[in-house]
């Protein structure tokens, strides 16, 4: 899956998870902290939805993996960093032929 497709899925899922539709979502939109349009439970919902949308598309993503949790910089900082992390994962899954 191309990075642009990943970004589009993340935008779409993000829009489904925020109350105010006036907020413009960009690749740099924060997922964590006060400037994030998501509260802590919103982020949990968003990540669960992202996993399930990719699953629907035939890809497995391990957003709750130890790898994600132990990264020095959280992959959940922004849409862009999350897309990077997902891109890495999808490549790994394809390499294993799964």
């Amino acid at each position: 899956m191309k990075r642009q497709q990943i970004i589009e899925i993340l935008f779409r899922t993000m829009k489904d998870n925020i109350v105010s539709q006036d907020i413009t979502i960009t690749e740099e939109s924060n997922l964590l902290g006060d400037s994030s349009p998501l509260d802590s439970m919103g982020l949990v919902n968003f990540l669960v939805d992202v996993e399930s949308v990719f699953q629907e598309e035939g890809y497995e993503t391990q957003l709750t993996s130890e790898k994600a949790m132990s990264k020095r910089q959280s992959p959940f900082r922004s849409i862009s960093t999350l897309a990077d992390f997902i891109e890495e994962q999808i490549i790994e899954i394809d390499e294993n032929g799964k």
């Binding site: 439970m41 919902n45 669960v48 996993e51 399930s52 699953q55 497995e60």
Partner: protein, 234 residues
């Protein structure tokens, strides 16, 4: 198919899991079961998965397949469990690992994956299995009771974490029941245990089902994070 209730029950090949499968099939539910080995239970509304409940990948695959086919999951009964009675001085670490894998990790993985689907429907009922061995602090069952104490705490915390989506999480703690779990325990030991209960009797499948029925009832939306023990133990 969409209007039928969908229930996942783990450990359905025999014992209470098998009983519950047949009970909910009779009630007109779609029943999805699993066990390590295959089952001879055949019903057009029963689907069986052969897996180890602690195998994260297979469980994820199973829940994804169930959600695709049935569109929703209403209830989860985490029944699969193993026990091994042994003095702790004689308990190998491999037994500890096995028991925690099935009883704790398996319960957790099923709760997590199923709740992900339940959140979409804003409804869910999860029932886990504990044991009276926990309040009895039962000697000779250090690891089994420790694993079930972990299940109880998991139940309490998940109840809080899942409440925002109207998912309740509770546990039933049966007294010894006539299942394989107590197959190797001497009768005198079981009788001694029963003497410690207010009601000195083994649990029956009906007793356990009654508590599960209470937990999963639509009217039990305010009941969560609780463990109900049978036999009058508190």
């Amino acid at each position: 198919m969409e209007n039928k209730k969908t229930i996942i029950i783990t450990g359905t090949r025999k014992g209470i899991g098998r009983y519950l499968s047949e009970f909910y099939l009779k009630k007109g539910f779609n029943v999805i079961g699993c066990s390590r080995r295959d089952t001879d239970l055949k019903d057009e509304h029963y689907e069986h998965f052969c897996l180890d409940v602690s195998d994260e990948k297979l469980v994820k695959k199973m829940i994804f397949s169930v959600s695709k086919r049935y569109k929703k999951i209403d209830y989860l009964i985490n029944n699969a469990g193993i026990a091994s009675m042994n003095h702790s001085l004689l308990t190998p670490l491999s037994s500890v690992e096995k028991m925690f894998k099935t009883n704790v990790f398996g319960t957790f993985i099923f709760c997590r994956e199923t709740a992900k689907i339940m959140t979409k429907n804003n409804f869910g009922r999860i029932v886990n299995f504990s044991t009276v061995g926990v309040p009895f602090r039962l000697e000779g069952e250090a690891i089994y009771t420790a694993s079930k104490a972990a299940v109880e705490m998991l139940t309490k915390v998940l109840a809080k974490e899942f409440a925002f989506k109207n998912i309740t999480v509770n546990a039933v703690g049966p007294t010894p029941a006539k299942t394989d779990l107590i197959r190797n325990i001497p009768e005198s030991k079981i009788n001694k245990l029963l003497e410690r209960q207010a009601i000195n009797a083994l649990s029956t499948n009906e007793d356990i089902t009654n508590v599960i029925e209470f937990f999963i009832n639509d009217k039990s939306s305010m009941v969560t994070g609780q463990t109900i023990y049978l036999g009058g133990i508190s």
